[in-house]
Amino acid sequence: MLTVTNLTSERDDRILFANLNFSLHAGDLLQIEGQNGSGKTTLLRILCGLSSHFSGKIYWQNQDVSQQLPNFLQALLYVGHHAGIKAALTAEENLRWMQRLHPLLNRCTITEALNQVGLYGYEDVPCYALSAGQQRRVSLARLYLSSHPLWILDEPFTAIDKKGVLEKEALIVKHVQQGGMCILTTHHDFDLPKQTIRRINLDQLAHTITSVDTTPSYLVSV
C-alpha cells in the first residue's frame, strides 16, 4: 500500500503541485492527468525515488519509504520515458538483464513475453535496428514478465500502434483486478468505467495552489 502525504514539488520557483495526498491500495488503478508540463513525470519520478525535488512524505506499507528502500524497490516496476534498453543488445539479452535486476520478472519466459508484444522473429535483432514502436515494445514486455505488486508507468503507450495499446490496456486492467496496483500517465483515452480507474488531475491542483501559496508562483497557461 502506497500513501503520499503533503507532497509538494517545485522546479525553478514554479510550483508544480502542492500538498498532494492520496493512497493506493491493492486493486487500484490511478491515472495522473494534466496538460503538458503539469508535472506528471516529475510526480512519478519522485514516487520511484528518482527525483529529490520535493517535500512531503511517501509511505510504503505504512512505513516511510526511505526507511525501507530495498523492500519498496523489490515491489516496484517502473517504466519511464526512456526505454532503458541497450541498443547494441538483442531484445532477449535486454530482458535477461532486466531479470537479473528484478527477481520478480518471473511470470513467464522471455520468449513468451516477446511473442505477446508481437516481436516474434525479432529476438535476435539488435535493438538499434528496431523501429521506435518496436523498441518501446521490448521495454513493455516487462509488463508480461512482471509479478511486482506496484507498477508505475510513464506514458507507456508512446509510439505503440492501436492494436498494441488495446492489448496493453487489457493487461493493466488484469493486473489490478488480480490485486496489483498501478499508477500511470497517458494522453491516450483509457476507456474504463468510473469505478475501475481513479484520476488525479494536476492542472486543477496547480490552480488551487497558486492562490494559496506565498511564493511568487507561476500560473501555467491553460
Binding site: G49, L50, H82, K86, L89, M98, L101
Partner: protein, 222 residues
C-alpha cells in the same frame, strides 16, 4: 557475487558487440606514443630517457578518455535509472562495470606496452617494471576515473570536465608508476614501488564502489 558476475558478463558482451570500444583505447595508446618521437626527437638516447614518463602518461590518458562513456550511455538510454529502481546493489554493479572496463583497457594496455617500449628504446631490463606497474596501477586509474564519470554523468555535456576532476587524483599513481619504470631501467629494486601501487589499488578498490554508487544516485536525482 552472482550479480557482480552477471554485471561483468553484460559489460564484456556490450564491449564485444561494438568491438571498437576495445580497440579504441589501444589504438589511442599506440598513436599517442608514436606522436612523441615525431614531435620531440627521433634520437634513441632522448627517447629512452623520457620513455617511462611518456608511456605512463599515454596509458593514463587512454584510461581517462575511455572513462567518459562508462556511465554516459547507461544514463542516456535509461538503463541507469532502471538499476537505481531495482533492488540490486548499485555499488556492486559499479564495481562490475569498472572491472570489465579495466579488462578491456588497462589490462590490454599493459600487455601491449612492451611493443611500444621497444619503439621508444626503453632498455629491456625495464620491461617487467613497465608491465607490472601498469597492471597494478591502471585498476586504480579506472576506479578513480569511474568516480569522476559518475559525478559528471548527469551534466549536459560534462565532456572533458571529468578530466579536470580526475587528473589531480591520478597524479600519485602517475608519479609512482613512472618512477617504477625508471627504477627498473636503472636495474634498481622495484618491489617497494609496486607494493605502494598495490596499496593504492586495494585502498581505492575498497572505497571507490561506494563513492561511485553515491555519485550515480546524486546524478540521477538531480
Amino acid at each position: 557475487m552472482n550479480f557482480l558476475n552477471a554485471a561483468i558478463k553484460r559489460e564484456l558482451l556490450l564491449a564485444l558487440r561494438n568491438r571498437s570500444e576495445i580497440i579504441n583505447p589501444l589504438a589511442f595508446f599506440l598513436l599517442v606514443i608514436t606522436l612523441f618521437p615525431l614531435a620531440v626527437s627521433p634520437e634513441a638516447k632522448v627517447l629512452a630517457n623520457i620513455a617511462p614518463g611518456i608511456i605512463w602518461v599515454a596509458a593514463l590518458l587512454a584510461t581517462l578518455l575511455s572513462m567518459d562513456s562508462l556511465f554516459k550511455n547507461d544514463y542516456d538510454d535509461g538503463s541507469l535509472e532502471q538499476i537505481v529502481v531495482s533492488p540490486q546493489s548499485l555499488a556492486l554493479l559499479a564495481l562490475g562495470k569498472v572491472i570489465s572496463h579495466w579488462l578491456s583497457t588497462g589490462f590490454l594496455l599493459a600487455l601491449l606496452s612492451p611493443v611500444l617500449a621497444v619503439m621508444l628504446f626503453l632498455p629491456s631490463e625495464a620491461m617487467p617494471a613497465l608491465v607490472g606497474s601498469l597492471l597494478i596501477g591502471t585498476p586504480t586509474l579506472s576506479l578513480i576515473g569511474a568516480i569522476g564519470a559518475a559525478l559528471t554523468v548527469g551534466l549536459r555535456k560534462g565532456g572533458v570536465l571529468i578530466s579536470l576532476l580526475v587528473l589531480p587524483l591520478y597524479i600519485p599513481v602517475l608519479i609512482f608508476g613512472a618512477a617504477t619504470v625508471q627504477a627498473g631501467a636503472l636495474n634498481l629494486p622495484i618491489s617497494g614501488h609496486l607494493a605502494l601501487l598495490g596499496a593504492m589499488m586495494v585502498f581505492t578498490l575498497l572505497l571507490a564502489p561506494f563513492a561511485i554508487a553515491a555519485a550515480l544516485k546524486l546524478s540521477i536525482r538531480n
